[in-house]
Structure formats: C-alpha cells, structure tokens
Symmetry: C2
Subunit: 130 residues, 2 copies
DNA sequence: TCTTGACCTTGAGCGCACTCTAACTTTTAG
DNA sequence: CTAAAAGTTAGAGTGCGCTCAAGGTCAAGA
C-alpha cells in the first residue's frame, strides 16, 4: 500500500484525466518525460503527481495549455527562472481576480433577470384574484 | 443620431464581435433571422441589440452556444416556455456560483504559492547578511 | 501455455467557436 | 460617373484540447 509509483491507468483514475490526455500532456511538454519500466510502461512518481495537481489547478482557472507549458519549461530550466515564473503567476493571479469580478457581476445581472421571471410566473399562476 | 437600425458593421463595432461572428450566430440559431433592406443587407433593431447583449452575458459566464441556442429556441416559442427558460437560467446560476467558488479557491491556493515565491526571492536577493 | 487486459506508438479525427476566401452586389463619397 | 468601402452567400480552413484507431508488446492469472 501507499505505492511509490503509479501506472498511467492508476494516475488516470486518480486525476480524472484519460490516459490519452496524460500521454498528450507529456508529448505537449506539460509533463516532463516520465520514468519507464524496462518494458517501456510509464511510472509516475510522487513529484509527477504533485506537479500534475498544480497544472490542473492552473487549468481550472483558465490558463491555456501553451502558457502552462511555458511555466513548465521555465521550471525545468531551474532556479535562475524563479523571478520569471513568479511574474507569470502574479499576472495570472490578476487575471483571475478580474475573471472572478466579471463572473460576479454577471451573476448579479442574472439574479435580477431571475427575479423578473419569478414575478412573471407569480402573476401568471394567479390569473383570477384568489 | 440615435439611429433606429444598425448595419452589421455598426453592430460589429458596438458589440466587439466580428461581422463573421454575427452572421455565424444568426446561422447557428442564436440570433433570429434579422431584418433586411430591400437589397438584402442586414438591419439590426434595438431588440436585437438587447438580446445580443444578454447572449454575450451568458457567453461570458461560460454557457456553451448550444445551450444559449436552446434558450433562444424556447424564447422564440413564446410564453408557454417561460417556466422552462426560468429553470434553465436557474440551473446556470447555480453552476455560476460553483464556478466562482472554485475560482476563488484556486485564487487562494495561488496566493499561497506566490507567497512562497516571495520568500524564496527575498532569501535569494540577500545572500550576505546586510 | 493461453488468454485477457493494460500498456505502447504514430498519426488521424473530432467538436467547438469562430474566421476567412472567393466571387459577387450594393452603397456611398468625391 | 466611378472608385472604394461595405455588404451578400456557400463553403473551406483554423486553433485548441483532446480522443481515438490501428497495430503492436507485455504481465498476470487460469
């Protein structure tokens, strides 16, 4: 138990991504070339899983794969890119704030519209008085 | 001034959508067949603009065109679909709330990560003590 | 040993939401 | 009157992010 490695099928189940997608991410440079068994089967290590979780977090916030890939490339280059990665994430954080604000505004507008629907329905379901 | 109609170019400028996209929305059933001049040029009326604004609001909140189209179809069918449209919007409102909550959670996680970057950079830029 | 299922690679295909091309007509400014 | 800008259509092309098909290899249980 608490296996050291995960096969692609296991990681697929754990992450919710298809095995296709995991291979695609690797080929796209988002996951670095992962360890292999002697026969060529992928073995994902704890660090790979942690990195994937972070990637999925960025994805959930709408960062395009191309930009995630850029971050991954910087990360692979090591410490001297720390400042650049920081700047990239900071920019994304700002976009995220803007996105949240816009969604909130739309949610408010939607609430108003829903209220007019409620009023309409209330009027329609009581066509006679009492 | 305060023209009664808009040409496709004018609406394009006003809405930020390309004329291509406006025609595409019409062909996709999102904008109902719009008025034409005798020679076939489109003329958008005030109601068309108002509806487009609402469509764009739904779009900004991540509603796929197929679902917007469903709403448009119901709307075209008239009053007896009011309840269904209301339900559709209410469901979307809930998804929107979930989306906002998830983004907020990711924003918080990102803030933590940014803080560790700040700590790292602070440590790295003062390698000697003073 | 056989079979079943998980895995491998390469490359094609797909769904969404546009975006553009080509060939043509209409409108507008000078 | 004419040139250029803006409009029309049908249909092809694009970019993103997967998703799958084909044709194999490998591992584990009956």
């Amino acid at each position: 138990m608490a296996n050291k490695f995960l096969s692609i099928g296991e990681l697929s189940r754990q992450s919710g991504l298809s095995a296709y997608t995991l291979r695609y991410y690797e080929s796209a440079g988002i996951l670095k070339p992962v360890g292999r068994t002697p026969s060529g089967h992928r073995r994902y290590h704890r660090e790979d899983v942690i990195w994937l979780d972070f990637v999925l977090r960025l994805k959930r916030t709408g960062m395009p794969l191309a930009e995630i890939k850029r971050y991954a490339r910087l990360r692979a280059q090591g410490e001297e890119t720390t400042r650049e990665r920081f700047a990239l994430l900071e920019l994304h954080r700002e976009r995220l704030a803007a996105q949240i604000a816009e969604l909130q505004e739309s949610a408010d507008a939607l609430d108003e519209k829903l209220q007019t629907y409620r009023d309409m329905l209330a009027a329609a379901t009581v066509p006679e008085d009492r």
